[in-house]
Every structure is written in structure tokens, then in C-alpha cells.
Symmetry: C2
Subunit: 490 residues, 2 copies
Amino acid sequence: MGVCRNFIVLWTVALSLMVCVVCNNNTEDNDSLITNKKTLSECNLPTELKTEIASYSSTVEKIINAAVNGSFKGVTYRELSLFVDTFGSRISGSQNLENAIDYMINKSITDGLENVHGEDVQVPHWIRGFESATLVEPRNVSISILGLGNSVGTPPEGILAEVLVVKSFDDLQSKAAQAKGKIVVYNQEFVSYGSSAVYRGKGATEASRVGAVASLIRSITPFSLNTPHTGVQSYGENVTKIPTACITLEDAHFLQRLQDEGRTIKILLKMEAQTLPDTTSRNVVAEIEGTEHPEKIVIVSGHIDSWDVGNGAMDDGGGVFVSWGALALLKSLGLKAKRTVRAIFWTAEEFGFVGAYQYARDHANDTDNFVFVMESDIGTFNPVGLEYSGGTTGRCIVQEVMKLLASINATGVRQSPSVGSDIYMWTSKGVPGASLDTENDKYFWYHHSNADTLDVENPDSLDKNTALWASVAYVLADLSVDFPRELMDG
Amino acid sequence: MGVCRNFIVLWTVALSLMVCVVCNNNTEDNDSLITNKKTLSECNLPTELKTEIASYSSTVEKIINAAVNGSFKGVTYRELSLFVDTFGSRISGSQNLENAIDYMINKSITDGLENVHGEDVQVPHWIRGFESATLVEPRNVSISILGLGNSVGTPPEGILAEVLVVKSFDDLQSKAAQAKGKIVVYNQEFVSYGSSAVYRGKGATEASRVGAVASLIRSITPFSLNTPHTGVQSYGENVTKIPTACITLEDAHFLQRLQDEGRTIKILLKMEAQTLPDTTSRNVVAEIEGTEHPEKIVIVSGHIDSWDVGNGAMDDGGGVFVSWGALALLKSLGLKAKRTVRAIFWTAEEFGFVGAYQYARDHANDTDNFVFVMESDIGTFNPVGLEYSGGTTGRCIVQEVMKLLASINATGVRQSPSVGSDIYMWTSKGVPGASLDTENDKYFWYHHSNADTLDVENPDSLDKNTALWASVAYVLADLSVDFPRELMDG
């Protein structure tokens, strides 16, 4: 997989940064990405179709009641809790991830889901090892770091070098002559995840190109309690691979002030990070098979891998468990739709949608049967609705379906040119799809950090998300007409 | 100082917990502590006095303008920044604290403040050393900890023991038979700082009394990004001293869930903490001497020591620098009051007001001349006014004075039976005094943690606090009548 993998990783890291521009509801550049602001009144769905969708009202209420007040109340949180407490973090390449995958396969079988299986994927195996950064001049103090995925390590004795702080890639270029032999620290503003995460993604490459010996990136978050956030990065072609890690907002500001005060700054960076040979992982698949068109598929999904810090309860334990919960809930209610509802728990998302890419290759001939693809990977906070990618008629259908969620106040439909992380490879090619849209304004406070724990999750919100996910999947899988695959507006 | 110190530490730790009940504006039990809810309309100050106070309007506006728009704009933040960037944390007993004290003495002299000097205090010298906690059963994962002040260390090989999680002291008593040989984990709710911090203060003692070998305390904070918070604790008489540290909210919840699930929990705790012989530190004193009654004193203060984590920018760099700033600002404007305005930067507050107690003993004969004592030690966020301790006539005077702060919207006067940390020993004996009252609802997010950095502080808020502090000190020091020393209401 060597060359192919490198190419795919490079491309997908770039893609992930692009995709993630739309991941945060609360970024300044978000509104501009909502290309279709037509309201429901502009929809001209056939009356029959609207009536048909409305006829699902009692079924959806049954789903909601079971999740919010009934037999499934608290189940999603309780199962997620048991999962993260048992396995903790689940980084690509780790045995822990494979144990967690075994668990979800066995659990889905036990729960009576259908066609449960894993599908093999070769995945990266990067390990962090010991790491530390120490400011040794102008005074001695420890700097909190988290090495970035795919980073190389330092020599055992570490790298001791002067620091050059820059605020942007342009700033780096203007100071290129000073960068040689230095540790470049990026103190870029947090504008939005997408626009800021590019510093994490290619900061090391750009620093290496001007002769830096390492790079430290301000964590991609709007808020910090001295919290470093990791994430993936990739080295460009023909650059010397230099070690790279993230630092906290506080330390980025501190180093900036020291530089502004004209002080000489030196840091000793030690990282044991290394990339081991690829390992075999699996995407997990479970279904409730369709009664009339089992070959036609509505997908709900999340990714089962996480970073190696925190517990991956939010990113993306929540996404996995509302997807598992949607199927388990439908199963418990005996609801089988005309089409198949398939849950997929992607592997190795964090290293560039590795599992999803493999799935796309393995199922290239099935894509026409993917009726609607959904992923939850931007938080399972209190739901507000869906972020939708697709054409106008489809949007009108989704809006009608979401009216059924009025009792949990989650009827919103935001349109975006792209949704999801793993599912982007389908939605970008015209397969209609959606992400779960929740009150995720604090998502990046926790993202890729030790703060990604079960404390982020809320039982009631998870119940509502499971109800929403199950309802949308069931209705779209059961409609008398296939969901329209139109060209996207905008 | 051995026996005496132990007694004082015990007593003052208890006191600090009691005092701190009123430190947080945002606790449920706060309202009940505001014993005097009389409004300004109930005041019957002589018209002459009200007129006299109002006549300071132009002087106070001059002070405010200098701080907010003029020559002193940004100075408090800039000086605080230089201070914390240069010295970082400043724990009692450390050379770094003494270097910081030297710096403030030299700075105050350079700034033209008067009678600048240090006054010796013997202070505790507790050091943290290396520390770690590892969950070894049911799975292997690191637990973030911060050892508590005065804690003993573990043997070099650590303490490996089963865990017993309790929710309260009552819960501990009900499970006392299970505690022997265990590590007791306190997962107490955060209700208010005062009511919760008692678990930090005496959790180890209570655990030791039922045979525990160590104790871990849930950090005293309402919010966490996997953030441990340290603080002082003391061992009761005749108990075996067991190692004790704080853990994060997230890990306390995690351990609780593991116990609730019936899993056996084991932790390996390693701490090198030890208490070295006392060292000599200093309270720093600087003045603007009174023109008519130099022996009569209005005090503004904060404490210069901090914990050994973070930078102590908030706790209590901000308090020190608004107090320094108040005098430097008055000096820069050539404002000398009839009475002396004295700034004190207390040492070793964090180990039980050690500097303040020494000062009280050394100046027992001067107490009658303490006209009004102020301290800022609960944050220098955007100011809302003062928290006041004293009688009704005094409150009416303070309310009149605070009207002069209308242009910075900081006219509030909240009455409390006690204010301050270091100054409580005077206000509790009837010396009228006040704490700075600010929008400090997030104070305990940062308190005693690595997140206590300059990022917590805001230049504009510091300017307003300096203006408020200088204005109140100047007016109260300059009034034609002494501030009344009445019995407190309520």
C-alpha cells in the first residue's frame, strides 16, 4: 500500500481540511457556505408525496417516544458509556481499536441486527511514544504538547533550537531567512476550523521548506484551559520530515509575547513518535434488511477510531452509538423499511478517511444503490436537525420529513455543498446525504484532546439524536419513491 | 515555628475554606450570606458628607480617564504580562517567589512609590516533585493528577491499591469498613467553592481515619477540560499522613461509573511530594504617604505567591498588579491623599495566609490606624463594584463613593459578613474593608490549575479595576472624616 497510501493520505488530508470548513456551525465563514436559502414555501412537492411523508407521523412518534420516554430511554448513553469506559481511546493501528471493533460486531449480532460483519482495511499505525517540550530560555518551564499524527520523532537527545514565532504562512515567508535551524511556532488566529487547521495539516511541510528543524502549531480551538489538541498532518513531496506537535493557545501567546519583547527563545523538543507498518482493521457493517428493495441502502454512520488522547466519546463515539442506536431502536420496535438501513462504523477516519475510501473502492459498483448517506461526526449535542447535501427536490423531501421531528424541536435543515467527513466522497459525487446538526458550538473545545470524554455527552441529547437518526433513516428507506439523485444547487 | 506553624496552618486552612464560601459570586449559597439588603434610600448620611464625596467627581474622572483612555491605559496588563512572563509561577518557599518579590520591590522604588520595603515572613516550603497516577485495573490508562499542598509523598515504588469511590464524608462513613487499605476517591458534587473545598482541605485526614492509604479528590471546579486543580490541605491531629492529590472531574466521574458497574479498580499512585524546612519570604509594602495623617492607612492588596502550576496571572497576579497600579497611577497623577495609601503584596497566601498572619502579628499595635483594608483575590475580570464588609454608615459612604465610578459601570456594593482572603483577619474583627467585585463567574475554571495564565486577563478590565481601586483608596484616604468603624449589621 506504500505509494498508494502516501498519495491517498496526502490527498485525503487536504480533503479533510477542506471538508472540515463546513464542520463547524459556528464559524464566520459558515453562512457563506449555505448556498441554498430557499424556504419550504419554494418547494413544489406533489401533494401525494407530502401526504405520504406526513403519514409517517405516528411511526416517528413511536420511535421518538421509545427513545425519549420509553424502553430505549438512556440506552444510547449507557451503551456509549460502557464502550468508552471499557476501551478508552482507539487510534488507528492499535489493538484497542480492533478489540472495540470486535465488541461492536459481537454486540450488533447479539442485538439481532442483520448481516453484521467487518470488512478489512489496511490502516496506518502511528504511535506517539514519550514526548515533551521544555522552554529552556529565557526561563525553564514545561510546554504542554501533543505530537501530530504522522509526525516523525526527534533524535533521542531531542532537538534544542531557537524559536521563530510566525502568525501565518505569509508571515513565515517574510521571515524565511530567519527560519533556518529554528523551531517554527505557528501562532495563527482561530478563524474557523477549516481555515485554521491547514496550519496543522501542512505547517511542518512549510516550515521544513524554509529550513526549520521542527514546528509547533497552536492548537485548533477557540478556547483552552491549557489544552493541547492533536490531529493529522502530512509531509509534502520531497521535504525533509521534521517533528511537529501542537501547543496550547496559552503557550502560543506566551511565546509570541517573548518574541515581541525581543527575548531569545529556545526549546528542547523530544518526541519518540514513529510510523509502524500498516495493520489490518475493519469497517463494521450492520443492517436491518429492506423488505422490498434490500439492495437499496440508506446509510447511517460514524467512525469507530479516535485519537489516542481522551476517550473519543464525542469524536466519534457519539456518532457510532446514535447510528448503532438507530438500528437497535428500529429493531426493538420491529420496524423494517422497504429498503435496507445500514449502519457503518468507519475505521481510521482520523488518518484521512482510510476506512471510507476502502469501502468506496470495494463497493464502487453498489454506489447507485446508495439512496441516502448519513454520518454523525461533528458532535451529538442537543439536535437541531440535519445538514443536507443534495438537490432541491431532495431538500424539500428532507424538510417534510424533518417536520415529523417537531416534538423534539429538531426540524432544521441547513444546506451545504458538502456534509460529513467519511461520507463526503459520496455526497461530493452527487449521492444525497446529511450530517446530524446539533448545538455544537463547543465542539472544538474538546476535539482531539484529553477533554474528549463521556462528560461531553448528555443522555437526553443522545436519546433525541438516536430518535432523529432512526426516524430519518426509516422514513427515507420506506418511502414509495426513491430519494431523488439530482445535481446540487448553488 | 514548628508547632505554632502547624496550629496556624490547621486553623487557617479551616478559615480559608470558611472564608471562601463568600468568594464566589455565583454560588447558590451566596445570597444567604448577603446579610444587609438595605438600599441606598435607607442611608442617612449627612448632606455635607454626601456633598464632600460628590466633590471628588472630577478627581475620580481624572483617575478613570488616565487608566481607561490616557497615559496609564494598558499599563496594568503590560506590567502584569512582563511579570508573569518573566517569573511564571511563584510558590511559597521557592527562589522564584523571592526573585519576583525582589522585582516588585525594585520596581516600586523605581516607580517612585514611598517607604518601599519587604517584611520578613517564615513560609512553608512544600515541593511537588514527580507525580503520576495510573489506572491499572480494569484497564491501563494515565490519570491526570496534581498533588495537594502539604501532601506527603509515596514510597518510591508508589502505592498500588484498590479504589473506593465516595460521594461525601457521610458516604465515606457508611463505607468505612471497606476503606481500609484502599485509595479513597472523593467524587463530591461541586455546589460552591466553600462547601466543596472542604473535601480538598480535609479529605486525606478523613480517609486516613478509616484506614485508607491515599486519597484522590475531585477538583474543585464547575467545569473541566480534563483539568486538575491543586490547593492546600492539612492533616488533622494524630492521623497517619497519607498522600493526596486532586483528579479531574472527568476521571472522578469515570471512576464512579467503574465502581457503579461493579468493576474492581486499582490505581498506582506515585508522588515525590515533600515538605522542606521553612524559608524566609517577605510581604512587600509600598506607600503613597498621607499629607495630614500619614499614620492612618488605607490598604490595597493582593498576594504575590501562587501555586506552582500555571503562571498565577489570575491568582493573584491580577490582584497584585491592580494594587501596584492603583498606587503607580495616583503617583503619576500627583495625587496624595490626607491619609496614607499602602499597597501590600502578601506572601504565602496559598498555604494559609501565612504572610498576612505575620503582618497582623507584627502590626498588632497599628490596627487601630487601619482605616479601610482592601484585597483583590477573586479575579480581576470586568469590574462591577465592591464586596463590602462593615457597618451601615460605612456601607452608605462606600455606596456614595462608588457612584463616582458610574462612567465605568462599576457602582455596585454587595455586602458580606466577610471579604477577602488575607484581609479577613482584619475585617472579621471589625476593620471595615472590601474586595474587588468582578464578573468572575468563570474564576474556578482556572483557579489553581495550569490554565491560570495571562490569557485569563483582559487589558481593558485591568484598566478599569486599577481605576476603581485607585479611586476608592484615594477618596477614602482623603475624606475629611475617618471611615466609621462600626459593628457589622446582621
